[in-house]
């Protein structure tokens, strides 16, 4: 059993086999193998408690269905089910996705990282710049002239033949 501690000091107990899906954690455990029990506590300081919950849910779902099996010999039905589950899992607000990406990046969980990145790009897809700005709350620091003239005319092709 491994203990993860989030930035707001909440503890999460996870089975080692499950947490091994994070390449970072796997390396840490590998480094500390054979040492005292206290070393089985891992601080995940850059993540608040909401995210480890989600990450562990994701791990557990994937632990039941290891990656190798998922690709090679999983039945069509099971693959479909996992896909549905993942779609539901990633169907959250952009802030959570954002945290998930950061967590997946620092804990090195490739499938979670790709899944969350894809979901964010789905949100950005087929939207105008204003909409994207509003969703992601990106601050617009262009001056009025730049906004009205320079940037749109420089990059006119990206809107061409689209929003006619």
């Amino acid at each position: 059993m491994i203990t993860l501690i989030s930035s707001d000091k909440r503890k999460f107990h996870v089975l080692e086999e499950v947490a091994n899906q994070s390449l970072t954690i796997r390396d840490v455990i590998e480094d500390r193998r054979g040492r005292r029990r206290a070393d089985r506590i891992i601080l995940v300081t850059n993540i608040n408690s909401k995210i480890p919950e989600k990450v562990i849910v994701y791990w557990l779902r994937h632990f039941l269905m290891p990656e190798e099996i998922a690709h090679a010999s999983m039945s069509h039905k099971k693959a479909e089910k996992l896909k549905k589950w993942e779609a539901k899992f990633f169907d959250t607000d952009i802030d959570t996705l954002n945290d998930l990406i950061l967590a997946a990046d620092s804990l090195d969980i490739p499938s979670l990282f790709d899944g969350a990145c894809e979901k964010v790009s789905d949100i950005l897809k087929n939207r105008s710049a204003e909409e994207v700005g509003e969703i992601s709350k990106i601050e617009n620091e262009f001056t009025h002239e730049e906004e009205e003239e320079e940037i749109p005319s420089e990059n006119a092709w990206v809107w061409r033949n689209e929003f006619a």
Partner: protein, 420 residues
């Protein structure tokens, strides 16, 4: 069209997405097309150039030029502009193109403007894993630099450059050690080039030749798993000998193109399409070698194009003389006019002892030949027959009748009417 934008009311709040490092944002953008990713340049200053760092870049000239552009000057302006955009994106970039580069530059050549390929060395410096070039040019000299064919990182290469110059890369040395998939169009491939290609691409698994001129005489490879040859001009005998091949798709202008197969021991799936032109003109000898090499195939899809049934009959008669026994074949699909199909059944089916599924796509245009009952030979066992046809024809019912009468144990016969 220029978009007028209202000043957006920015909610001062936690702009979480901007906390992500550039590399992750570029990764997110890689799930979008380059055109969509480029729209984020309006978000803020940090995003203006972010899209140029995505792991893959995909440019299409059709996105770039307005649909109604017809004026000579205007078209010229967009050619220039497109070139400068490609150049500036590549100049800014330092990260490798890990997911590849794709460029489609097709435009009415009657304007006389040619795409430029001067940026290729720059792309190759960024170590792309895949490269796709689709273009049309009036250049009459080779335009592709040698560095394109000497790249350590390339795994997938697609070249479809329509040019008036016969050979795009003639005497170049080829060294693409990681290349797995090669897709060529509009290239004249002679023996020397084919040899160079196969020796330079030691890991090649997929080869697709479309609308090429093939003048080599043999293709021998131990690594190829998939081969596609379609709409090619073949004026010489070609012998394919690829023991590792799993999947074969060949469409030939038969019998003008004399294609033969040898040593296809691991072949699983084959699609062969014949387009007979003048059956009587070609010599019998080469045609006989068509089927022997394919005897291990498990799924065979056979298509006859054209409407001249007489030619097809002659051709099939010749082609089937040395027909082997297909011991592994369990699914057989034939598409074409009914009369040659019936002819085919009579010769073929008895050489397929383990056939489980037999699909007939009936595509009849004009046929007045009488269907002869005795053409059908005795066949032991056929669990499933599917017949698809466009309109009701008395040949179809006669075929079913004959199948029922002559196949000893016949399973289901599915009939389906295709819509035009």
């Amino acid at each position: 069209m220029r978009r007028t934008r209202k000043k957006r009311a920015v909610k001062r709040g936690n702009d979480l997405i901007s906390q992500l490092p550039d590399s992750i944002l570029a990764c997110i953008l890689s799930f979008l097309s380059t055109k969509e990713a480029a729209r984020t340049c309006l978000l803020s200053k940090r995003w203006t150039a972010l899209w140029t760092h995505a792991p893959s870049i995909d440019f299409n000239f059709a996105d770039f030029i307005p649909q109604n552009a017809s004026d000579y000057k205007e078209v010229y302006y967009y050619f220039k502009k497109f070139k400068s955009i490609i150049k500036s994106v590549l100049n800014q970039r330092q990260d490798s193109l890990s997911a590849g580069f794709r460029l489609v530059w097709l435009y009415d050549t009657s304007y006389g403007f040619d795409p430029s390929f001067g940026w290729i060395p720059q792309v190759m410096d960024l170590k792309p894993s895949s490269l796709c070039l689709i273009a049309q040019t009036t250049h009459t000299s080779p335009i592709l630099p040698g560095c394109l064919f000497n790249c350590q990182s390339l795994e997938k290469l697609e070249l479809k450059i329509e040019t008036e110059h016969e050979s795009l890369f003639d005497s170049l040395s080829i060294n693409l050690p990681r290349l797995k998939s090669l897709d060529l169009s509009f290239v004249s491939i002679h023996s020397h080039l084919m040899k160079n290609l196969l020796s330079g691409c030691a890991k090649l698994e997929e080869l697709k030749l479309e609308r090429c001129e093939l003048t080599f005489s043999k293709l021998i490879s131990g690594t190829l798993k998939s081969l596609v040859v379609c709409d090619c001009v073949i004026n010489k005998k070609i012998c394919f000998s690829i023991p590792s091949l799993l999947d074969l798709r060949v469409s030939v202008d038969y019998p003008k193109s004399r294609v033969s197969f040898k040593d296809m021991s691991s072949l699983e799936k084959a699609y062969i399409c014949f387009d007979p032109v003048n059956a009587e003109e070609s010599d019998v000898e080469t045609r006989n070698k068509l089927f022997p090499g394919l005897s291990n195939v498990a799924i065979l899809d056979f298509e006859l194009r054209g409407s001249n049934c007489r030619d097809m009959m002659i051709m099939l008669q010749h082609a089937l003389v040395e027909c082997p026994t297909f011991n592994n074949l369990h699914s057989f699909t034939v598409t074409g006019p009914l009369i040659p199909i019936v002819h085919l059944i009579t010769r073929f089916v008895k050489r397929m002892p383990n056939l489980g599924k037999f699909i007939i796509n009936h595509d009849e245009n004009s046929s007045s030949q009488e269907f002869r009952r005795h053409d059908l030979v005795e066949c032991e066992h056929l669990p499933l027959v599917e017949i698809k046809y466009k309109r009701q024809h008395n040949h179809v019912s006669k075929l079913v009748e004959a199948l029922r009468a002559h196949v000893k144990s016949i399973g289901e016969i599915h009939m389906e009417v295709l819509k035009d």
